[in-house]
């Protein structure tokens, strides 16, 4: 009987089925047998969060070499999520389809939440480098760990630092206003502030919390409103560009508070902030986690960073760079212990993390059952000579805090 090429025999169907199944299973097998952990690093390299996203990206760029020296094998794929949660979601799908074993990102809580949903569906671990929205670790995600404080933790630690600053400088503020960006991060901080300030025992009254649009052209209306309230302290949660607008309008309207303090948010110490404001950038304080200058990991990271990115100061970038690096090291460490890139097994190893040496201050990195590292303390970092300088806690401080800050006029 002549062979009919269009007819299928039982044998050929079976063979085809096996081949098809093997083809479908191949990514999983390849994923499990990989010798290097392939990490997709999703960051907002463009869009309104680009400044911070690119700062994190620079940290990710120097990380593989430093990690290799520490015995971790990672391969990074750098992806721009364009400050857009929808892009973050689709790019995560794409990265996983193209073989990413785990995801690190994404600086922005809204984008990170979008990524978390995809990682959960695809059973691929997500390590949050920066993202403070509490719901990231409160929605029961099984494939997520976060080595960054929640908004509440940042505010709580920040309020402790404010008390420490008051004690150290002997100032006696009676009132304060809280100004915050009206985005996921700012709202998380606001929630933390609303819950924690009344219990903080701080010796001043919070007159009002004012949300502002982070895409606003200027903050003149906000500052006029603050000027009307005339608080002693201005507590702020801003992004870098907004912090410039805030200080600029505060100076223009001749409003002179005792201090401008960020209780747990970056924004007052970026290079952009120093360039735009010059001497007017000095004496503002950020109370937030910081790189540990005494850690050998930090020293190695700083050396590599300074060599690779000579245009950028590690002292200014260490918040974004340090947290991004630590997230990558957590991934590399879990891979080393798990010996596989299989998602669930990698996740099991991530949950068992106990990383003593890392870049940011704090005890060993460990995660609770929700995937949150709860031991990430804050420091008070004051701008001095246009450099972020640790002024508290005293044991790691390199200068003493100055409050009230000197008047705007006559600064050089």
């Amino acid at each position: 009987m002549p062979n009919d090429p269009f007819k299928f025999s039982r044998r050929s169907v079976l063979a085809g089925g096996v081949a098809g199944a093997a083809l479908l299973a191949a990514p999983g097998i390849v994923r499990a047998q990989a010798q290097t952990l392939k990490i997709a690093v999703l960051l907002p390299q463009s869009g309104y969060l680009a400044q911070a996203g690119q700062s994190c990206h620079r940290g990710a760029l120097v990380a593989p070499q430093v990690l290799a020296d520490l015995g971790y094998k990672v391969e990074l794929v750098h992806i721009d999520m364009e400050s857009n949660p929808d892009v973050a979601r689709t790019q995560t799908e794409r990265a996983i389809n193209e073989g990413a074993h785990c995801i690190v990102g994404a600086f922005d809580s809204a984008g990170t939440l979008a990524i978390a949903q995809v990682c959960e569906q695809r059973q691929v671990p997500l390590i949050v480098n920066i993202g403070a929205a509490p719901q990231l670790t409160e929605q029961g995600y099984k494939f997520l760990v976060r080595n960054f404080p929640t908004g509440g933790m940042l505010v709580k630690n920040g309020l402790h630092q404010i008390q420490a600053l008051i004690d150290a400088t002997k100032i006696a503020p009676k009132t304060a206003v809280f100004l915050h960006a009206n985005d996921n991060f700012g709202l998380a901080q606001r929630k933390g502030m609303d819950a924690l300030f009344p219990k903080s025992g701080l010796p001043f009254k919070l007159l009002e919390s004012i949300p502002y649009d982070p895409k606003a052209q200027d903050l003149s209306v906000e500052v006029t409103k603050i000027r009307g309230l005339n608080p002693d302290l201005l507590l702020v949660v801003t992004r870098a560009a907004d912090a410039i607008k805030l200080v600029r309008d505060t100076v223009r309207q001749k409003f002179q508070p005792m201090g401008i303090i960020s209780p747990g948010a970056p924004g007052l110490y970026d290079e952009e902030f120093y360039k735009a404001l010059g001497p007017l950038a000095d004496y503002h304080i950020d109370a937030l986690p910081w790189a540990n200058p005494k850690s050998k990991v930090t020293q190695a990271l700083e050396a590599a960073y300074t060599k690779a990115q000579p245009k950028f100061r590690f002292a200014v970038e260490c918040f974004n760079v340090g947290f991004t690096f630590d997230a990558l090291m957590i991934a590399g460490d879990a891979f080393k212990r798990a010996g596989t890139t299989n998602g669930p097994e990698l996740m099991k190893a991530l949950k068992a993390t106990n990383l003593v040496d890392h870049a940011m201050i704090g005890g060993p990195i460990k995660f609770d059952e929700k995937g949150q590292n709860n031991d990430i303390p804050s420091a008070s970092v004051q701008n001095r000579n246009q450099t972020p300088t640790v002024v508290l806690p005293a044991e790691v401080a390199t200068m003493t805090p100055v409050l009230p800050m000197p008047p705007w006029q006559g600064r050089k």
């Binding site: 680009a50 649009d213 209306v221 906000e222 735009a276």
Partner: protein, 288 residues
């Protein structure tokens, strides 16, 4: 009226005048050519960067670089119209839309590649100064920017009213067929109009650079803002663009103060919806 409210209204008027000049470019182009420039905000930001570069490299104040940048933008607009936009003038609106949105994407990503995402401030010697009038604090830069914007608007009104070219452009806008019949060079006049629209963008961007820091991220917001202003003022109406700008400036400032700062933009859009419902042709636009 409290001093603070008055302060906010004054600041709103000053900002609104610059907004108005920016929107004027969009209105002029649409009013004559019926082409909507979806790359409007992107080119405004290009002008901001031009002002920044001239200040940063040569120390030229934006109030001085205003005219050369506006002239360069006139030339840019003229060339763009003759080379890129002209073939699309008579084509379907969605084709014009795709062309200009494509151009906008190229421009904003080009800026990002060249300058990066950081905001570029122009720190003038008086950037942090303000005039004190009683209990009012009025930013110096805002006063200068608003005066500059107002002067340019007046000059443009006079150009369209009293020059032969301006009259010819208005003739094209009023009756294109008639303009062709009497022998006007419509293509040439369209290119001049596009150039004038771009000169407005150049001037507005330069003045805007004294108030806001140049950053690629601003571009889509400026495009949207210009649209809101011209729709409120009346598409194609020059006076409407200015009135719309001032209205948006004041309403945003008052809403920010009395309702909530984060709701400023929402208030602009509420005003837009109100105008679209009650007077679809805009406050100073002609009923179609």
């Amino acid at each position: 009226m409290t001093a603070i409210t008055l302060n906010i209204i004054v600041q709103g008027i000053l900002t609104g005048l610059v907004y108005g000049l920016m929107a004027l470019g969009l209105s002029v182009i649409f009013g004559v050519m019926r082409v909507v420039n979806f790359a409007h905000g992107e080119f405004t930001v290009v002008a901001m960067y031009a002002a920044f570069l001239l200040f940063d490299m040569l120390g030229v104040s934006p109030l001085v670089s205003l005219l050369p940048i506006a002239a360069a933008f006139f030339f840019l607009g003229y060339v763009l119209q003759r080379t890129l936009v002209e073939p699309f003038v008579s084509r379907a609106e969605h084709e014009q839309f795709i062309l200009l949105v494509g151009l906008a994407t190229v421009v904003v990503n080009g800026l990002l590649l060249i300058f990066g995402p950081d905001a570029r401030p122009i720190n003038l010697p008086y950037s942090f100064d303000s005039y004190t009038v009683g209990s009012l604090f009025i930013d110096k830069v805002r006063v200068f920017a608003a005066l500059g914007a107002f002067a340019i608007c007046i000059a443009l009104f006079l150009f369209f009213r009293y020059t032969r070219t301006g009259t010819a452009i208005r003739a094209c806008a009023d009756n294109l067929t008639g303009a062709g019949v009497v022998g006007l060079n419509v293509k040439q006049l369209y290119a001049v109009t596009f150039g004038l629209g771009f000169a407005c963008i150049g001037a507005a961007g330069t003045l805007m650079a004294t108030i806001a820091d140049a950053s690629p991220g601003l571009a889509p917001a400026y495009t949207l803002l210009a649209f809101v202003i011209v729709i409120i003022g009346g598409l194609g109406s020059m006076a409407g663009a200015l009135v719309g700008g001032v209205l948006i400036g004041i309403s945003e400032a008052l809403a920010g103060f009395y309702i909530q700062p984060s709701m400023k933009s929402m208030f602009s859009f509420a005003l837009l919806i109100l105008v679209l419902v009650l007077r679809p042709q805009g406050l100073m636009g002609r009923r179609l």
